[in-house]
């Protein structure tokens, strides 16, 4: 497999979505080719950065409380309704 083929498959390879045999071929190439290894390492690092950034956003406490309150209210109403 040459660099051009590897580059075309790299994202799919990093996503672990290639067939086993193809994945092994990419892996062997990346291990031996500095240029493709640089791309692969960079892409892994970039994904890490994007994930870390976006995972900092947490649901506000108010939303959590509101959802749980709505649910509790529903069970309350449910009990009342189940009588009729």
């Amino acid at each position: 497999m040459d660099c051009e083929q590897v580059i075309r498959l790299l994202w799919t390879w990093l996503d672990r979505e290639l067939e086993v045999e193809v994945s092994q071929e990419v892996e062997e190439h990346v291990r031996a080719c500095l240029r493709c290894k640089e791309h692969a390492d960079f892409e892994r690092r970039l994904r890490e950065i994007i994930q870390t950034c976006c995972k900092k956003d947490k649901a506000p406490a108010g939303l959590r409380a509101r959802l749980l309150a709505l649910l509790a209210e529903s069970s309350h109403g449910g009990d009342a309704l189940s009588g009729h």
């Binding site: 994202w11 994930q51 529903s74």
Partner: protein
């Protein structure tokens, strides 16, 4: 707010306590991932809250049909995406027509590795360190919605292509092409912000 603000009460008849407890556990487990995804989709905290509330209301409504042991995370994300598409149908449709030139797989990596910084330091960390959270958020927010949905599901939430295909109800090939174009555009934007930032900081 009105649509999402309705209580759960009107659709809870016959639900037992066990179902409610299981559902509560689900809310706890998936609230953060759903919220941050809603935030990436809508771009606004209050819209994201409404969307998440709508999602959990819809999920509760069809909780009877949810099979224990199946993929709860994918099920909830599918409901979230549908709720988003229903709300923002117009903005969802438009981006499909966006024509984009193919800038190549490794636009960003090529530029970073070709920079003088890289040849001086031997690694891309100088560039990586300059990527600010606000750049990532802004770059994601500027992707057309269909691309953004695919990128967020794959690169932040770690769903497989098959799961994404089911969540968005699109063929696998479409998942791959949206991911591909979304990732390209995202990298292009990150490079541009990094360059702007560099000029501003006077390097």
């Amino acid at each position: 707010m009105d649509g999402a603000g309705r209580s759960f009460t009107e659709m809870d008849q016959g639900r037992n306590r066990g179902a409610q407890e299981r559902y509560e556990a689900m809310v706890e487990e998936f609230l953060d991932p759903l919220y941050r995804t809603a935030l990436r989709l809508t771009g606004h905290r209050s819209d994201a809250e409404d969307l998440v509330q709508e999602t959990f209301l819809r999920a509760w409504r069809s909780f009877d049909r949810f099979q224990e042991g199946t993929n709860a995370r994918a099920w909830l994300f599918k409901i979230l995406m549908n709720a988003y598409i229903d709300r923002y149908r117009r903005s969802h449709r438009e981006p499909e027509r966006v024509d984009q030139e193919d800038i190549g797989e490794f636009y960003l990596s090529n530029r970073v590795h070709g920079s003088t910084e890289f040849s001086e330091r031997g690694n891309p960390e100088a560039f990586i360190e300059r990527i600010m959270d606000e750049h990532v958020r802004k770059a994601l927010s500027q992707l057309p919605a269909p691309f953004r949905m695919a990128v967020v599901l794959a690169d932040i939430e770690g769903f497989s292509y098959k799961e994404i295909s089911e969540i968005l109800d699109i063929p696998l090939g479409t998942v791959m092409s949206r991911l591909h174009r979304g990732r390209q555009q995202l990298r292009q934007a990150l490079w541009e912000y990094a360059m702007e930032n560099r000029r501003v900081s006077g390097e």
